[in-house]
Assembly symmetry: C2
Homo-oligomer: 207 residues x 2
DNA sequence: AGCATAGTTGACTGGTCGGTCCAGTCAAGC
DNA sequence: GCTTGACTGGACCGACCAGTCAACTATGCT
């Protein structure tokens, strides 16, 4: 009776998902390969059949996290059913809901999956650092496009959209880290909206 | 001549200093007790004479780091020889110089010693999380006082000084993390000045 | 049927982890 | 000079680390 594909249909994906969840809620160093395998219901040998190292798995985790964030957060928040800046507000609201929900479920604020890895590993693993950088770069591009649209629509005065996108993203990262360190989702709720007011003027400085 | 206290004058302090340097430039998990001892020229047994655990040493490291930041950064930047907001600019400039100097010396951007530990350990060690939170709280207070002075002097419109101080600090943390992940001090230089424009209005929301 | 191969298993390795233990050392107080 | 107690040295501990390996199983292809 519907035997089919007995041999674990998606061992590789289960490993990625387990690692993503565990590393996100703890840290890279605190989660061993053995713990990831146990959570995924997979034996050590199978792990190394699919991934040559913990580092390589982590790169795959970063891809998976980016996909998740894009689909669950960005694509939802950025639906063009309202003005660009209102979409940014929706983005912050969705992000806050998620952080709050994680706090309720686990007792901890997880922060940003990319910021966490960047903070922990940037000085120690150049490959992972570059990957995190690439993810942030993609996020910045999305933000930049939104700001360009806002400028075009006249909802935003002309700014250096690249720098302003980077600044807004940095601010969100900082707020996430602050909320995580205080272990309080309301910190995010209180501080995040100020992101919308951040501006970096075009070219050199002026007023 | 001037014998006194032959028995290692400051073994404890050397351990703290070594741990501070190593953990700051790598991470908590990447630096073992053995490495700290070796760097300090101290044997394992002595370590555990002065500190009951690596965690306790880390708490002492946080105190030492805070003292260092206060003396080398805050106390220098906040000298009241100019208007409050100009002191904030000087703070950013000093912070940038330090990050740049570390990059040149080690090849890496270290980021913020508190933010790093907060990101890595907040979900895993409640005691350290609280300590990091306390440090941030002190920093916020310093920033808050400066903003209060700026408002009083008429250099800044009335804002929610507590929330605005928190937002500015969060922004600096985010910029430091961004610069660390990109491994480029110029990111800090470009983005940091926007901190001065961050505002959170008093009480409820308005415009 | 037979073979190739993707996938699985669990025992195993060398090394490192944080932490323990205790005999020894030295300076100060009596 | 003897005792006390802070401090030191270093051997040692069990647990865990990332990673290896050879034997095994099931599936798909011919």
């Amino acid at each position: 009776m519907l035997r089919g594909m007995v041999r674990s249909p998606d061992t590789r994906q289960r490993l990625i998902d387990s690692a993503r969840e565990l590393i996100y809620s703890r840290s890279y160093a605190d989660v061993g390969v053995a713990a990831i395998c146990e959570h995924a219901g997979v034996r050590k040998g199978s792990f190394y059949h699919f991934f040559p190292s913990k580092q390589e798995l982590t790169l795959a985790v970063l891809d998976a996290s980016f996909l998740e964030i894009k689909q669950q957060l960005l694509d939802r928040a950025f639906v063009p059913d309202r003005p660009p800046l209102a979409r940014l507000e929706r983005f912050l609201d969705l992000a806050w809901r998620f952080q709050k929900q994680m706090k309720e479920a686990t007792g901890h604020m997880p922060g940003c999956p990319f910021g966490n890895l960047g903070a922990e590993l940037s000085t120690r693993d150049e490959t992972i650092r570059r990957k995190v950088d690439a993810v942030f770069s993609s996020l910045r591009t999305g933000m930049r496009d939104l700001l360009a649209e806002a400028v075009q629509a006249g909802d935003l005065e002309p700014v250096d959209i690249d720098a302003t996108a980077a600044a807004m993203l940095a601010y969100v990262e900082g707020v996430l880290l602050t909320a995580k360190t205080r272990n309080d989702p309301d910190v995010f709720k209180q501080l995040a909206p100020a992101m919308l007011g951040i501006r970096i003027p075009p070219q050199a400085e002026n007023a």
